[in-house]
């Protein structure tokens, strides 16, 4: 075993996700991204003396939804706590969070592993807290915006069971997918509605004790999470191999230099003096509410993957692509429901639909035509009224124009020509223009058949029915000499 194999990584992730509520967690200010600074604030989320927080019922409902989807136990009695620290984005000097008795404990998330059994990652806890404000730094001053202060934030903490940067990223993707399926978060890492801190340590393979860990912050994309964890594992392994010691510290990921570096040491940073929040009585979670939410629980990605694997003949890869986003799977299913064959619907969704949505700045449903219209277009292909290539052209146009399939095909003149007389005329033109190649063909270069088909299709701007072109060409070439039609390749070779 190489020396570099003698260490294993131990990774735990803390994910903070903003919840999609209308208002903040403890006051009636709007919870929205992108408002002008300090426009969605009030005395409560500004931490003015004498104000009292009042808990948003919707926040509890969304948290229970996440708890159930991750197989967590929902605490019947939960409490809020004050986490005390000073920072200019925290107006009260404490953050209302949860410490003892968080809302959800002991859940897990299952990661797909191709065709094997899913890999189960245990969760330590899921708890609620309020988000802080935002600072921007100028050369001589800092500026503070409290719009984000009091945004409901769910913290989802994994057990340190992840073993590689790739696995950590897979966990993060699955978690984001779950939150988006549940419609509790939009999972936008760039806008900060889905944020990740990573706790990373390494230890000799086979050891059961955990090594000293570093906490990496500022990971605002999947790519950075993977790079930063990889970098940190390599750094720690090198330190340990050289006989050094890992310091328990907080690192910031610097995407420009591609490395993590320690934050200025804050010797007191982790002494938060948690204590129960006196302004908020105990949170009782009625079991009826949990049961009601369980009864209305939407399908989660793992359940959809299992359903596709059981009911549809799709590969593990296809299932993975189709199920990552709920609306993509919904689109695919709507096409199948409209009568499109499974494989054709899957292929079209994975290529044309995802391409159009990725290339667009619009939301998914605005970027692509309604699935019924896409299904109508694919039916035209199945009925030989348009070619597959013409369908692709029509689809791209439909994405932009919003017009239906029939109108688009007509407007763009994409209808496929199956009329034998028309095709025959073009075949004659091609064969006489390529008389020398026809001679070569009859001398035995049978591969040229594909060339003739291509020239006819090209002359007809791609709208010729290739089946008819094949038949007509076979007939004409056989008439002009050898070989017999049955010896010829059936289409463009």
């Amino acid at each position: 075993m190489a020396i570099s194999d003698a260490y294993e990584a131990v990774i735990g992730l803390e994910v903070h996700t903003q919840l999609l509520t209308r208002s903040k967690i403890f006051c009636g200010c709007a919870n929205e991204f992108g408002a002008a600074p300090n426009h969605n604030v009030c005395p409560v989320c500004m931490g003015m003396p004498g104000v009292l927080p009042v808990f948003n019922r919707r926040v509890l409902e969304l948290t229970i939804r996440v708890g159930l989807a991750t197989h967590s136990q929902i605490s019947e009695r939960s409490i809020f706590a004050r986490k005390n620290y000073f920072y200019p984005d925290l107006p009260k000097g404490y953050q209302i969070s949860q410490y003892e008795r968080p809302l959800c404990v002991g859940g897990y998330i299952e990661l797909p592993t191709g065709n094997g059994a899913p890999r189960r990652i245990q969760l330590a806890r899921i708890h609620l807290e309020e988000d802080a404000g935002k600072n921007i730094h100028r050369p001589t001053a800092s500026l503070v915006d409290f719009n984000r202060s009091g945004t409901p934030l769910l913290e989802i903490v994994s057990e340190p069971e992840l073993r590689s940067a790739e696995e950590a990223t897979a966990y993060l993707r699955e978690l984001r997918s779950i939150l988006r399926y549940l419609e509790v978060s939009d999972g936008n890492m760039e806008e900060g509605s889905f944020r990740c801190d990573a706790n990373v340590s390494v230890r000799p393979c086979g050891a059961t004790e955990l090594g000293a860990k570093t906490e990496i912050k500022n990971l605002n994309s999947f790519k950075f999470v993977e790079k930063a964890i990889k970098h940190e594992i390599e750094r720690q392994t090198a330190v340990l191999k050289a006989g050094g010691k890992i310091m328990q510290e907080t690192h910031l990921w610097d995407p420009e230099r591609g490395e993590t570096r320690p934050m200025r040491s804050k010797e007191y940073a982790h002494d938060y003096r948690y204590f129960p929040e006196p302004d908020l009585p105990e949170l009782y979670v009625p079991p009826e509410l949990v049961e009601q939410i369980r009864a209305q629980a939407p399908e989660v990605p793992a359940a959809r993957r299992a359903r596709y694997a059981r009911d549809l003949s799709l590969s593990a890869y296809e299932i993975d692509v189709l199920t990552q986003e709920r609306e993509v799977g919904d689109y695919f299913e709507a096409m199948v429901a409209a009568g499109i064959e499974t494989k054709a619907a899957a292929n079209w969704t994975m290529t044309e639909v995802l391409r159009a949505s990725n290339e667009s700045t619009e939301t998914f449903s605005n970027a692509v035509p309604p699935p019924a219209q896409t299904a109508a277009l694919l039916k035209l292909v199945a009925q030989n009224e348009i070619s597959l290539n013409a369908a692709k052209t029509a689809f791209a146009a439909m994405c932009k124009s919003g017009q239906d399939a029939a109108t688009t095909v007509k407007a763009l003149g994409l209808a496929q020509v199956s009329d034998e007389a028309t095709i025959s005329q073009v075949c004659d033109q091609v064969l006489s223009a390529e008389a020398d190649k026809v001679a070569q063909f009859h001398a035995g270069r049978e591969k040229l058949f594909g060339f003739f088909v291509g020239q006819v299709v090209k002359a007809m701007k791609g709208n010729a029915n290739p089946k008819v072109v094949n038949e007509v060409l076979k007939r004409k070439l056989a008439m002009a000499g050898r070989p017999s039609p049955s010896d010829l390749p059936s289409s463009g070779a």
Partner: protein, 102 residues
Amino acid sequence: MPLRMAEAKISLDGVRHVARLARLALDAQEEAKLQHDLSSILEYVEKLTELELSGVEPTAQVGDAGTPMRDDVVTNEPAADAVLANAPAREGFWFKVPKIIE
């Protein structure tokens, strides 16, 4: 007021630690006074240990009403100028504060 060490429930180092977390700059005299005051508070609270509480669950709150909840409705109109009215300094709609050094 000098305190006999046997009575101190918190060390001077403990006082300094808590003061630092609370961003308080104390001189030696204030440290000693706070050591005395905090010690008497801790001593008073310690009286609770005289009670037989083995059958009582840890309690964060008294009363059993549970936290009241409100519906998820936006009730606050933006009033940025009012919010910024008492700020020592502003830039546009931002609060302006001394430069934060990370």
